[in-house]
């Protein structure tokens, strides 16, 4: 379903799937039982990493309707070496 969505919308970035909630758990982003059918899903978060994999900027939103705007991320990316 994600592939169809990505192809229709013309997305060129990499979409990854975490059905076993592995990466989500490793990043401590699990939102237990918040899925439509009661599954564990991720709480929204954005991480900008530098080339060594160190976190340069992070956005852990307090309200899931409010996400980082592209301008904010681009601004943070300017200071990436």
């Amino acid at each position: 379903m994600t592939r169809d969505l990505g192809e229709k919308a013309g997305y060129t970035f990499t979409f990854l799937s975490d059905p076993k909630v592995e990466a989500i758990r490793r990043y401590d982003l699990v939102h237990a039982g918040a899925g439509i059918d009661g599954q564990d899903i991720a709480r929204p978060a954005e991480f900008l990493l530098d080339s060594s994999g160190t976190v340069h900027w992070v956005n852990l939103t307090e309200n899931y309707w409010v996400r980082a705007r592209p301008e904010q991320i681009l601004e943070a990316a300017k200071t990436l070496q």
Binding site: R26, R43, F47, L49, V55, V58, L60, N63
Partner: protein, 150 residues
């Protein structure tokens, strides 16, 4: 004399529209999503219509005065409930998020992971940070965790 109390009905319908248009329309743009001012504006107009309709219902000259008053009261109450539900879901429920204290902070190393992309191919964070883009090594990576389940 029989008059159809259109303001009270319009007020109620607009309240429902004000509620539903948030996830389906206004949530598409961050300027109307981050703070739902457009929807609150619609609720405000709905409130004005309901007040006009309410006064009409309680004014003399109805064929069925009791029915008019009951209908107006019910519609007004339902509209208030819809507004309450809207405020609750956008301002309160949306903040019911786990603390995520263990999430990597600025300066910390982001944990590695290996997950499948949309074509079933395994992709690791190490790869994302090392595979050249247009012949250049990547300057970094942006990880976006979505709330949702597909």
């Amino acid at each position: 004399m029989r008059r159809f109390n259109w303001p009270v009905w319009a007020g109620f319908v607009l309240s429902v529209v004000a509620f539903i248009s948030y996830p389906f329309v206004f949530a598409r743009w961050s300027v109307t999503r981050d703070f739902p001012w457009a929807n609150l504006l619609l609720f405000g107009i709905a409130a004005i219509l309901l007040v006009i309709g309410f006064r009409r219902a309680f004014a003399p000259g109805h064929t069925h005065p009791k029915r008019s008053k009951i209908a107006a009261s019910v519609l007004a109450t339902l509209s208030i409930l819809v507004l309450g539900l809207f405020v609750f879901s956008t301002f309160i429920m949306a903040r019911w998020l786990p603390a995520s204290r263990g999430a990597p902070q600025v300066g910390q190393k982001a944990p590695d992971f290996t997950l499948a992309d949309t074509k079933g191919k395994s992709v690791s964070l190490t790869e994302l940070l090392s595979t050249p883009i247009n012949g250049q090594p990547p300057k970094g990576a942006l990880l976006i965790f979505y709330r949702g389940y597909w």
